[in-house]
Amino acid sequence: MSPEQESSIAALDLFPSEEAGKTSAVTIQASKGLFHLDLKAVWRYRELLYFLIWRDVKVRYKQTAIGAGWAIVQPLMTMVIFTVVFGSFAKIPSDGLPYSIFAYTALLPWNYFAQAINRSGVSLVGSASLITKVYFPRLIVPISAAVAPVVDFAIAFIILLAMMAWFGIAPTWGMLALPLFLLLALATALAVGLWLSALNVRYRDVGYTIPFLIQVWMYASPVVYPVSLVPEKWPLLYSLNPMAGVIEGFRWALLGKESPDFRVMTASAVVVMVLLLGGIVYFRRMERTFADVV
């Protein structure tokens, strides 16, 4: 090692002090308190977060013949099945839109959401070898798993644009609001994913429950049917499901359907924030024993 490299040692600091200066001491002890969230640590490790997302994306379709094509084929096939079963056979109304694009617009955020909770829910157990051998803020694991499927979402989105052109649906200014709805979906997925992943470390039952949870949640969200089909007396209950707002938001922004109820969206956002905050607190609490239990 050359002297020049040696001198750079002090410049790099894994646990940088809050103020610049000499390296600070880290004290390792049993942690106390419920609200020690330490989100700063996550920010410090943002490069690792980036690399884990990058790895997930990179590895996902390795050794498949059509590679990222799967990100298109999966929602497309689901759309075809839904269109035949729910659109043609069951004749579920689609608010005057072609059923295929009606379903696909909902499938985009839904598929993202389903993948994000699925992957983040089992992420900690799947990263057991990392967790027991290296220190880093554990929050990074479910976060990266919840963010990575955004890439699939982006690829599948291209097909939606093509379908809109095919059906002659003009884009609206509402499309600018799409990132907000996606963000809401991400926050929801992360909130649920944090709870599931932390629980799954101790109770492997959770991993087996996730597919059912996703299935039930899908039918509780307006993926295959329009919100107008939901009985009048349920809207409050419905606003508790943030994915209903997300899907309605997507249909509004892309297909020009009536705008989602602002109050409902706000209620959804509040529900998500509470769930997310609770998820982080619970996760941080359980984090102390992950390496011992996983």
């Binding site: 090692m1 002090a10 880290v26 004290t27 390792i28 690792l48 884990l52 070898s129 290296v134 101790r202």
Partner: protein, 423 residues
Amino acid sequence: MGDIAIQVEHLSKQYTLGTSRYQHDTLRDQLTDGLKALFRRNGRPPSNKNTIWALKDVSFEVREGEVVGIIGRNGAGKSTLLKILSRITEPTSGYAKIHGRVGSLLEVGTGFHPELTGRENIYLNGAILGMRRVEIERKFDEIVAFAEVEKFIDMPVKHYSSGMYLRLAFAVAAHLESEILIIDEVLAVGDQAFQKKCLGKMDEVSHTGRTVLFVSHNMTAIEFLCDRCFLFDQGRLEVSGETGIITARYLASDVDRSSGQADLVYHNGRTKGSMSVMAKVILATELSEPTSSLPMGSQLSIQVSFSSKSKPIYPILGVVLKNRFGTAILGVNNRFIPGYRFAEPISDGIITCHFSSLPLMPGKYLIDLYLGDEHVDLDVVHEAVSFDVTPADVFKSGKLPPAAAGPIFWPATWSLENGKEVC
């Protein structure tokens, strides 16, 4: 010697044994436990979970630039200590103060992904170990050169030979620039050349003024690298001091294992994840009593009694003989030797590994035992029992090979032809 780099005060770590450590609770267990508790009179949960102190009231200081070896039997608390200092797990009580950036290497190749190329894995692994991207970029060529994988750097690592894989993994970790380096038994993997290279690199690292904590069972490596040593026993820091003195004490502390037999039901050499299948091991010779002292060239039977009540097994016994430094000398296993698949699966019995003439030079030897069911290892106990080989006139010449000629003696034959060259 500079300021204090690591300060540990009354550090303790308690683990819950039984259900929650080795087996995961399921919700059902919790629910049934809860129900049982309801119907019991005193209403308290069953106390079948016993706890163990993996680390108990440990205090020490390490100064900047010191290279400290940590030794002790399996289960002595070494790895737990490293895990706490690496912030992987939290202590139950006490604290540790660490001054400076910590790089820890508890396993070679953590986070390597087989589908990614060597180049991609360097970045990924570097990030996992806590390196910044710029730092990895700057070190990249050096890492590749050290690992000797220049030609294969853009190939998925799943196509690498195991040697290349290990070299690359070690190279990334070895180039981590941290003031404090925590290393756990990395030398246990890889071939001789790899180990030599690692040792060289670690020696180099230790001369750059960095603080190093180094756990190993390999006393040769400890004596080579470390100025000072900590000896751990049953979660406590038993003694610390100059390396030579501590290693000698460690090697001499084998009294309980020298009776020629050992109870294996609760053996602290049992590896994590093993089921307690082996119950006892006896070293038998021509004599009727178990013995731990054998003359060179004598026969030896290693008798292992086992019990697998849940499922009958086709027993496989692997035996590895190690010298007092923990280096493997020879290993046998009826999985490799044809004709030793026993006809019927059995649930308990004694399996014996027999050496008709043990070719070991005088010295102290340790035995690792691996009991398996056909292709799976069920129970692994390291350093289950030890024995001494005493000098004997095996060649009937009154002379023995010098100790420097290696750990094994072997009879050979010679011939001589006059005036010829080998062609």
